[in-house]
Symmetry: D3
């Protein structure tokens, strides 16, 4: 099985980390390929950023299908371009936020999302509602470290995450925790351990791992998204810059 | 007062009609300017189309503010790029769908949207929910004429719209009707009259007019969107094709 | 255009202030007329008060239409008699609470209402739900000054409003603020400035102004409420005291 | 125990029927007293009608408490004045719609209300939502006989009710039926039998009986409405016509 | 009238207290019979406990109908086996939680439940949602005394309940309070008085009393649950341990 | 990896089919073990049936963990005992309905469940709401074949399922279909093909396969349910029939 990961930014320095992260949780026999965008933004922290990364995400999702991928994962908790991408391909397209929110809803009464910035809080609430999970969201709480600084001091990042997660558990009633940025990949076990030390035994999900397991499962089952929800767009004229031509 | 209308497609043939449509309902003293996109799609009938028009919408919204516009309207019922655009400017950015759904909710118990295609039906439901109006949406029903053919035979288009609207009123309990495409601008009075002839006296909104009145009202009141919901994006690297450079 | 304002109380001392408030935000050419009730209560702070003002509101709404008004505004945040009044006239009848809640929902993620008394809190929640906006209400919080004392010490009133609004923003996640009494007309800019000084940049609406802009817009558009929701009542015997005869 | 029934109309011809209806289901020892309004409308079929009956309902609810009633029932499925009346007295004030909707919600998955007119349909939906029962309402369906004609041909009335109720059961999934007008008092067993003959075995409630049992139960339990929701209105000037003076 | 109370545990020491509790609020002429389970758990504080008491509850509900009971009450705030029991008998089966939540919803804006343990909090929220009352639940808050210790020091128990209830009123907006365990039967008046002493005048329900009044009312009205929701199970093979044979 | 399947009935004839069904979709290296209940009912078609199978399900889930299972699946679309079982073990306990509903919600706008009997329709709605997915359920529709007859004439069963599923797609707006009984295991591809032949291209899930993939994924990820939602029950006296002793 071959699963392609779209790093939906132009930040090439994440490329190898992303590949390793996914490869570590992949089943034996699952091949992981990562592509980084040519056009877009360095990170995704606003609706503007999402808007600018989606066109090249679409180009790369189409290419992934043409190259024989069994499934594609868009490696960002905003799930940018998820619906548009599904219109263009038959293979499953997986968003880590959608996958994690649904898994969290199955594992406990309500979940909280630890979001990067204060401005993500309403966006997370809209996302949960769009996925049908408004009643399962205990809260979104931001930890306030910019995406590009998450790895500057990992211990400090984890410390902040545990602090915020503890408030989500004690004050908001969260029973499951979702780190709200794929830049936090692999840190879930340490957050979960930190919470347990403070008397808060709750599962902490690792969204990339959850997305990968969903992608593998869909490929195993021969299932993909519904064509009724995501039909192929009608043919029409598209004009796009020559050297960044959409779909080229 | 100066209000800029973004025709969020590359179809220049709509340009003059759009200008006239808005100018007809503008107050004396309101200047209407229309811009058509350089990059994007010929019409908007899928999530893919939305994704491809948003970058150039953002460029044009920013330019509108720089050129002194008092408000901007994105002339499409998908409200493409509404949230992202608001992050980039201080002036009000108005979406005809958001404006019409809220007005409809004020005028009657529930409203229905007449959507272009069957695939719009779930998108309209998600839109109503995102705007907080899930309980006010009686139904979305498609009338099945492609956007670029809406004006081929206007009488036939109106006939289909009245048929579908009547079912929305009688079977779904719609008390207000919203035509679901700005390409139907100006037809609302004829749809309303057609419905009245069949015993269905309900208001039929003209979304571009409604959007214009909201834009004028916000400019009058000195009000705009909340910076808490739509903060300015943090500075970061953006890479975009040279001859279509975003924000150029 | 002529817009009639119903001061839905028997307190004539508000008459001139109300007229000036609305006239200040009216467009050139919009004539504002204010009527004060003959029968009812001195202010509206309970369901009992609402019940006692509605009959004379209805009388005055009917008279307004007969006198050629293009729209009517019921100048109270309880929107007393809004639905009943719409049954009796064809012209638009606007409630400041309905108009403000929908505008607030368009400008940001969620809004809070600053209510006069603690007992208004559940009433505001019911109102938001009735208007279809339950998911957009962050909170109602009371500031605890009786309606008839709001203007005794305006600086103190504003101070309390800013305190309560700040809590709504910081603790409840409000992104837009609605002062919950039309007796606070004109104070929105000072509340907004006070909040900005404390680091809370959010729009604060002035409900009478918002209602006026909606009334002007509806008159411009030739739109009014749906007869399906608000049909004319069937003819029947009505018995009412001679010197206060309903509809006299 | 003494329970007062407010006939919230000026139609005195219903007086004795109403008394007998309630007396038949009262427990031994429960005294039933009925009062009919001096001011108001002949029946209640619109928001206008509700507005005009509430002031005299309030007068009579206060009088009932002064006269030693243990509980009061407002005998109309619009529950007119329910909230305002509760502000004015300490004894329980019961509305047949609220009582019936909650009982219906306890007896089966979802209930339908058979409403008098088409225009009641949205009003019933708002009522169910206000009482917290939006998810338990299968549908409101009108049977289209004016209130004052319900008893002209009782067999025909029952025939229509059974027809409409059957559609509610088969098409809307109703598992419990509520006749939507207290003018239908006592007909529930015949509707239930008619439905059973057609293969629809569902409980059909008699709202006046349900209201009476709730009133008796509250009096037995020494319980009444919460003062936090329905506080006493603050003292203030009230002006009301001399010969119909409110509260006289 | 004869009403049977199922003590849905194997704790026989509660038997006489339970009988007296119900007898005290029964109407003259209502006979109360209590049965305690042969198989099950000593108290009900988990989903596991609920699962183990339901089979013998069903046996006893069937026996109650055979013995001529007019209604049955399952004396636990988890309402264990309520739906299954209704499938097996025609007489009303009443759950104290369902009865109390609906009554509380009628008496005030929102109610809170004082639950035994922290783990009950999500269970109470699911219960309220299942009964259609999600929007009426202000909060569930635990007071943290095991069921079997509730009567060890009644003053201390009441003190804790008043503390927790006060927080529900002041912080969560509860207007009505429901003690969340039938082991607290009879303490409601003291909790209500304790709250009033602290300035929180709200009704505090006694769930067993509320259940009994509902059972009496249903028997009076000749009403029971809907067969559409709770049809008789189809005949099929059941295998059960010989000396605890289900239904023996 | 070892995954245990609980056949939650006493029908041993399903044992081998169930084992083969799961083994066919298991990954290489996943061992499938099936256990059938000693005590309970022959099939599960009512709340009564669910109540009688849960105790022995719990016994077997505990045994599965003791025997070294990595996860357990309760093979019934009622997910009987799911919450109680999770209290008793640390390994993941998976319900096919919960797993399928969440997967369906990820693959399309809304899903429908094809339920065995008409009486399952409200139960499915309650289930979807409990899992947080009320807004994603398009409908539940019954196909009316008793569980024990599903395999009598498989072609006829599939014919009925396709008929009912087509109505769910065309009339209710279902974009994904869930067969509502694990007795239909393996038939999903034929239902999906039958729908496609009629112009309804939608994914049809096979709930046992979906449950197995979720179980494998959870085991891979080292994740299980939250102890905050499903804490271990406190120790207490349990009395159970000697020869069917719970937990023996």
């Amino acid at each position: 099985m071959e699963i392609h990961i779209i790093n939906p930014t132009i930040t090439t320095s994440w490329h190898e980390d992303t590949r390793r992260t996914y490869a570590q949780v992949a089943r034996p026999g699952t091949v992981i390929r990562v592509v980084t965008l040519k056009w877009g933004t360095a990170s995704i922290e606003s609706y503007r950023d999402e808007a600018l990364v989606v066109p090249d995400i679409l180009t790369n999702v189409v290419r992934a299908e043409q190259a024989g991928a069994d499934a594609v994962i868009i490696d960002c908790m905003g799930d940018p371009g998820l619906y548009a991408a599904r219109e263009l391909v038959a293979i499953p397209v997986v968003g880590p936020a959608q996958a994690s929110m649904h898994l969290a809803a199955m594992l406990g009464h309500q979940f909280s999302v630890l979001s990067v910035t204060e401005q993500d809080v309403p966006a997370v609430a809209e996302q949960a509602a769009r996925y049908g999970l408004a009643t399962k969201l205990a809260s979104a709480r931001s930890f306030g470290i910019p995406v590009l600084s998450l790895r500057d001091d990992v211990d400090q990042t984890i410390g902040k995450l545990v602090d915020v997660a503890e408030r989500a558990v004690r004050q908001d009633g969260a029973h499951v925790i979702i780190p709200g940025c794929t830049g936090l990949a692999g840190l879930a076990p340490r957050i979960q351990a930190g919470l347990a030390d403070r008397g808060c035994e709750v599962p902490v999900l690792d969204p990339p791992s959850v997305a990968l397991k969903l992608a593998e499962s869909l490929a195993d089952l021969g299932l993909s998204h519904s064509r009724r929800t995501y039909p192929s767009p009608p043919a029409k004229e598209i004009r796009w810059p020559a050297d960044g031509a959409f779909g080229d």
